[in-house]
């Protein structure tokens, strides 16, 4: 028996997935880490918490209760702690009889393999102890692990990383070189590449705190807020159109500005979240707080005309609750719309109890139809208006003038009616016509000013709360039991309130220091942003079906420190980027890449393709075209022709795409107009989400369409040409120096001998090709005024060399 137990332990060790920490030899099996994932995956669909789907009156997610795992049926317990022989479950999972074995073959769930069975056997023999799911227990500050000589470590977090590497028989990579570090940091914290001057200054700064000062400087840049906001906007599905039916324009840009500002001002995350959820309910809510509550107005919404309003209302509310679940709780609460959640302890009633906080918007469930000024402004009440002082003055003046003009028209109408004599009447009538023209002109002026007045859709409660019901099978037309506002029982209780709890109470509940999810979910996303993959890879799902953390104690350390720091986001990011783990070089042997392709063990620096926005912004910034201007309405950089017209309705607003011109097309991508039915292809081809629903992490794919985009996008090629012109401008520079300029500008590095040789040969060959074909050359240089001494062939050849560098893997990758 002792031998058997040992061999099981050995099997168990082999069975551990890479992402889970190895079990020290003497350790017992842990339900949370080793057993629950197996039960959840293979058993809970029929033996979980969903009573409707439950088979044989058995649930394996709980030990006790009439259906619990310890229950005895026909003289046998499903699980008898300490005894495999007395556990019916063991007979079933080990049976060779297809009619008897669990999971049944018809379920298409895989049988438990030897190692998995060994884990279960050991767990039962050791007492079949159940534990709460790790993510539902508040994190506590872990003890720092012993790592022997911890000289490598720069931050407490590094000890956890190092320990994990040591347990796997690995060591960390050396620190990356300074050029890599400044590029990595600048891209990660601002979304833009460093300039050559910045690189040179950093290389020259030999002071011991040069790196730290660089970090502090980057965190203080306004571009930091723009970059951070971009991730947030994916998470909350920010867009410029409704997303449904006509997919009309929807104006939310002040919300975006507010998010940018919040990150730049380093608003504490708990306060930030509270504003998102309930800024409008804050005592003496500021404009900023009310604008932030526009979070609740970001869901897709249908325009009036075809759908049934009660169905639309239900959809809107479900979408809002789903968003709260994904963005703040890291839970798939939407699984409980139709039935109890199969894997997490979220009952259907829990979902609708939460929905009762978010079903009370004082607004129509569908947006208005065309025609009104409000419609053209992309607005739907309730919203707040923020006229500039000039606009306010003009509006006030117009109000007076309109009143007077209107009165004058009425007066003249009456006079015309009263006038008897023809000539006098005609004169009065002429006067009336002029007065009406004046009135009309004033109205047009008013509309034009109103169209330009910034406004923000916000959250606002109805005076009388809407009752909430469980919707049977999620059907809006089948309300079941009425439910009161509440939060799921497995999470900390909502603080008692005098009356009905409000959204503000909900926000306080969510941001209480002992909430097990809020801080973990947030720090995991920030980690994901900097390391490419979260400590919990499924950053949208911390429930039983999510992936367990690669470094559970590290996640807890970060979450606890984050809360203790007052939810200080910049401090957290600094803690991460100051670490030795972050600073590692990303190059490794092919074997190392093969062993850990996603770098979950952190035995090297992370290396991943940049997001679509970063790629575009890098091209604009490095080529000298980027227009750095904070805030404002969305802009429309050019798109390929006809792609909106192919899918919109005749009455869609807007129906066809009209590109902006001038500075607007060179602004950062966070300001790009996002049509949900067809987002900018420059973004979606590179895995940007549609913003129809909340997205906590993007896929990163590598496709031929991406290659075509980066090779052929006209604006990107113009940018390459612009950089080529800049490099050619200094006529005293040698060819080698020119190449250094463009190569360093784009990649942050100087070309080595091979790179120089390849690219200069290319430049020579292309120069010859273009010189031999003036028409081809003229086509590429069209619209460009050549500086003295630069030939078209030279510019054309260098444009293609710059474009070649932009198309290198190292250019689109943050390494």
């Amino acid at each position: 028996m002792a031998d058997l137990a040992r061999s099981r332990t050995a099997l168990l060790l082999l069975a551990l997935p890479l992402a889970a920490p190895p079990v020290p030899c003497q350790s017992t099996v842990r339900f949370d880490r080793d057993v629950r994932p197996l039960l959840a995956d293979r058993c809970f669909a029929c033996h979980g918490r969903d009573a409707e789907q439950r088979k044989a009156g058995l649930r394996l997610d709980l030990p006790d209760g009439p259906d619990g795992a310890y229950r005895v049926r026909d003289g046998r317990a499903a699980i008898r702690p300490g005894s495999l022989a007395d556990s019916a479950l063991w007979d079933r999972v080990t049976s060779a009889d297809p009619e008897f074995v669990m999971p049944p073959p018809r379920s298409h769930e895989a049988r438990l393999d030897d190692a998995e069975r060994a884990a279960i056997a050991r767990w039962i023999e050791e007492g079949a102890t159940y534990q709460a799911h790790w993510a539902f227990v508040a994190p506590v500050r872990p003890a720092l692990p012993d790592v022997g000589d911890g000289g490598w470590c720069r931050q407490p977090l590094d000890r956890f990383v190092l320990r994990r590497l040591q347990d796997g028989g690995l060591g960390p990579n050396p620190e990356a070189d300074r050029r890599t570090l400044i590029r990595r940091l600048t891209l990660d914290l601002t979304g833009l590449p460093p300039t050559r001057d910045e690189i040179h200054a950093f290389l020259a700064d030999r002071s011991p705190d040069a790196y730290e000062r660089l970090v502090d400087g980057l965190l203080a840049r306004p571009t930091y807020g723009e970059h951070m906001a971009r991730y947030w906007l994916d998470l909350v599905r920010f867009a410029d159109t409704n997303g449904l039916h006509h997919d009309h324009y929807r104006e939310m840009s002040l919300y975006r500005d507010q998010v940018i500002r919040s990150f730049n001002e380093n608003q504490p995350y708990d306060e930030f979240v509270t504003d998102q959820l309930a800024g409008d309910l804050r005592p003496d809510a500021t404009d900023a707080q009310q604008i932030a509550s526009g979070f609740h107005r970001l869901h897709m919404i249908i325009d009036v005309g075809t759908a049934l309003p009660e169905e639309s209302l239900a959809r809107n509310v479900i979408d809002r609750v789903t968003a709260v679940g994904t963005a703040f709780l890291g839970l798939t609460v939407q699984c409980a719309v139709c039935h109890d959640h199969k894997y997490d302890p979220i009952g259907q009633a829990d979902f609708y109890a939460m929905s009762a906080f978010f079903n009370n918007l004082d607004a129509a469930p569908e947006t208005g139809a065309r025609g009104t000024t409000e419609f053209k402004r992309g607005l739907q009440p309730p919203y707040l208006e923020f006229p500039t002082p000039e606009q306010a003055a003009a509006l006030a003046r117009l109000e007076t003038e309109l009143r007077a003009a209107s009165a004058r028209v009425d007066e003249l109408k009456a006079a015309v009616a009263a006038a008897a004599e023809d000539a006098g009447r005609q004169a009065l009538d002429e006067e009336r016509k002029v007065a009406e023209q004046t009135l009309q002109a004033l109205r047009t002026e008013l509309t034009n000013i109103q169209l330009a007045v910034p406004a923000a859709m916000v959250m606002k409660e109805r005076a009388e709360p809407r009752p909430a019901y469980v919707l049977i099978r999620g059907d809006y037309a089948r309300p079941g039991a009425r439910v009161e506002r509440g939060t799921p029982a497995f999470l900390p209780p909502l603080a008692a309130t005098a009356g009905t709890p409000t959204r503000l109470d909900f926000a306080r509940w969510l941001t209480a220091p002992d909430h097990p999810l809020t801080a973990r979910v947030a720090v995991n996303r920030f980690w994901q942003q900097l390391f490419g993959v979260g400590l919990v890879k499924t950053s949208e799902d911390f429930g039983a079906q999510g992936e367990p953390p690669s470094h559970p104690e590290l996640l807890d350390l970060l979450a606890v420190s984050f809360v203790e720091s007052g939810w200080d986001v910049k401090r957290l990011l600094k803690e991460l980027v100051m670490s030795a783990a972050y600073r590692q070089a990303s190059a490794a042997s092919p074997e190392r890449f093969a062993r850990d392709p996603e770098n979950r063990l952190l035995a090297r620096g992370s290396r991943f393709r940049m997001d679509a926005e970063m790629i575009r912004d890098q091209i604009l910034a490095s080529s000298g075209l980027l227009v750095q201007q904070l805030y404002g309405r969305s802009v429309k950089p050019p798109q390929p022709p006809g792609i909106w017209a192919a899918i919109t309705l005749p009455d869609s607003f807007p129906r066809t795409f009209a590109a902006d011109t001038g500075d607007a097309i060179h602004r950062r991508s966070v300001y790009t107009f996002w049509k949900r039915a067809l987002p900018p292809p420059q973004m979606t081809i590179l895995d940007a989400p549609s913003r129809e629903y909340c997205t906590a992490r993007r896929e990163r794919t590598n496709t031929p369409l991406q290659a075509l985009l980066l090779l052929n996008e006209r604006e990107y090629l113009k940018a390459a040409r612009n950089l080529a012109q800049l490099a050619l401008a200094d006529r005293n520079a040698s060819t080698e120096e020119r190449l250094e300029i463009v190569y360093e500008t784009i990649t942050g590095r100087l070309p080595d001998a091979v790179e120089q040789d390849v690219l200069l040969r290319t430049a020579r060959d292309l120069h010859a090709m273009y010189a031999a074909d003036p028409a081809r050359c003229a086509a590429l240089c069209e619209g460009v005024t050549l500086a003295d001494g630069i030939t078209p062939a030279e510019l054309a050849a260098w444009t293609m060399v710059v474009s070649a560098i932009y198309n290198l893997d190292v250019a689109k990758t943050r390494g």
Partner: protein, 483 residues
């Protein structure tokens, strides 16, 4: 039978883990890290079908806006006598209607169009679809399609992705994911959208890229929308001043340096970048060769009808679809709009049928004579049907019909389909299914079955669930439609 190699990163990581096993990690670790598609007991690897497929490729003719089954497929001669009679409550049973007809009277509008039994099959077809009727021995008409949604947007999202809620993967994306690619030079899943339709501007509905999106699947599985204006594939053509020789020279430099960086950095992803850039270069020739119809004989062009000469016509898209099928594109979706006949249906329906009748019949014939119909599945359907009762003005020759999800008609042809039959029966008002309902998920399950896939075993883990095209409720393969 072709054995299809999947190149998805799941397989990559599978290989990586098998390697990892050699350096001390148990191969059993694999199980915990692979999605359901691979893990299913005894299940095949992705890229292999579950059973012998009857079809290898699909053309989905999506009639966006919902054609009227009553005027095209579901012949109800007795309605003639019910003109302007209220729909009996025993038929409508208080079913919900849209906001457009809620609270209005429900007066029966018989079809003004004649129906004939096809000599080819004996199945009844509307006079508006003579070409399809003539090939109906190859076609299985389904009268009992039904859906849950009553409005366009959710209903379209449902038929295209298996769910009313955005975020799920579309049919073509599932097949790209499940079966992998059959060719080196073209995408697995192509979308063609008619640039115009004869029914006019009044009864049009919008489209959304989610209808061919990849949802939770990796985005490389999303449909590639071919454009009728500009490049057929976005960003396909070289910019002015860049010709193939320049492009080749530049790409050679890029490849040389990428290879160098791959050696230095070690990241296999760089090799993928190199491969994709080469594929992009090949697409710059393969796509224009695909869309250039100059090698089509006049006789073939004539088969598709006069509209084939117009860029962006449904007819031309059908011909392009055939050329894609010949080149082993896995899934072609053609969207045709203009079917949302709330009003003036008799005025507009003939034009819509002119658009689709001859070309879709030509597609069947053309594939057949090339030996491709046997393993190409064609599916023709809208997102729901239309009501027997009139919306708005009601005359014998002027009426409109509202949305009707409870039953509607479509047809299937090609690989594995029993031709010359009509499946399912509706009541006398084409209002309720009487026999053999075919829900959207049943349609999906049947399509997947024909492609060799068990719909319960094609899964992808997302948000805590093994997601399927056919959702969580039971779905049925409709064997009665199969040959």
């Amino acid at each position: 039978m072709h054995r299809i190699l999947a190149t998805h990163d799941v397989l990559q990581s599978r290989r990586r883990f098998l390697k990892a096993a050699a350096v001390g990690l148990g191969a059993t670790a694999l199980g915990a890290l692979l999605p359901g598609a691979l893990r299913a007991q005894g299940g095949p690897r992705r890229g292999d079908p579950h059973h012998a497929p009857r079809a290898r490729r699909v053309i989905f003719l999506f009639m966006a806006g919902a054609p009227s089954q009553l005027d095209l497929f579901d012949y109800k001669p007795d309605l003639e006598r019910q003109f302007r009679q209220p729909l009996p409550p025993s038929v409508s049973m208080g079913q919900r209607v849209t906001a457009m007809t809620r609270g209005r009277s429900q007066l029966v509008a018989p079809s003004m169009f004649g129906f004939r039994q096809s000599p080819a099959s004996g199945v009844w077809w509307s006079e508006l679809l003579p070409h399809l009727s003539a090939v109906s021995d190859r076609i299985c008409v389904v009268h009992t399609l039904n859906t849950n949604a009553i409005n366009h947007d959710p209903a379209k999202t449902f038929i295209c992705t298996g769910s009313e809620i955005p975020g799920k993967a579309s049919m073509g994306a599932w097949l790209s994911y499940g079966l992998g690619s059959m060719n080196r030079d073209l995408p697995d899943f192509v979308v063609l959208t008619s640039a115009f339709w004869t029914g006019g501007k009044r009864n049009v509905q919008g489209l959304y890229s989610r209808l061919w999106g990849s949802g939770f699947l990796p985005s490389r599985h999303q449909g590639t929308a071919f454009q009728t204006v500009g490049d057929p594939v976005l960003f396909l053509s070289n910019p002015d001043g860049v010709d193939p020789a320049v492009r080749r020279r530049m790409l050679d430099a890029v490849a040389e340096l990428n290879h160098k960086h791959q050696r230095e950095i070690g990241d296999p992803e760089i090799r993928t970048t190199i491969a994709q850039q080469e594929m992009a270069f090949r697409m710059q020739s393969s796509v224009p060769a695909l869309t250039d119809l100059s090698d089509e004989p006049d006789e073939v062009l004539a088969l598709y009808g006069p509209e084939v000469h117009k860029t962006g016509s449904f007819a031309r898209n059908c011909l392009l679809a055939r050329r894609m099928i010949e080149r082993d594109v896995r899934f072609v979706q053609i969207n045709h709009r203009g079917w949302d006949h709330h009003s003036i249906l008799p005025q507009q329906l003939p034009g819509q049928c002119f658009d689709v009748d001859q070309p879709s019949a030509a597609l069947i014939r053309d594939l057949e004579r090339r030996g491709l119909l046997d393993d190409t599945l064609i599916v023709f359907a809208g997102e729901f049907g239309r009501t027997v009762f009139c919306q708005g003005r009601l005359e014998r020759d002027d009426y409109g019909r509202d949305h009707h999800p409870r039953c509607f008609s479509g047809w299937l042809a090609g690989g594995g389909i029993q031709g010359g039959i009509a499946h399912g029966r509706t009541d006398d008002f084409s209002y309720n299914v009487v026999e053999d309902p075919v829900g959207i998920h049943d349609l999906h399950a049947t399509m997947l079955y024909l492609l060799g896939i068990d719909h319960e075993r094609l899964t992808f883990p997302f948000q805590g669930l093994d997601q399927r095209l056919t959702g969580v409720e039971p779905a049925r393969v409709v064997h009665e439609m199969l040959s």
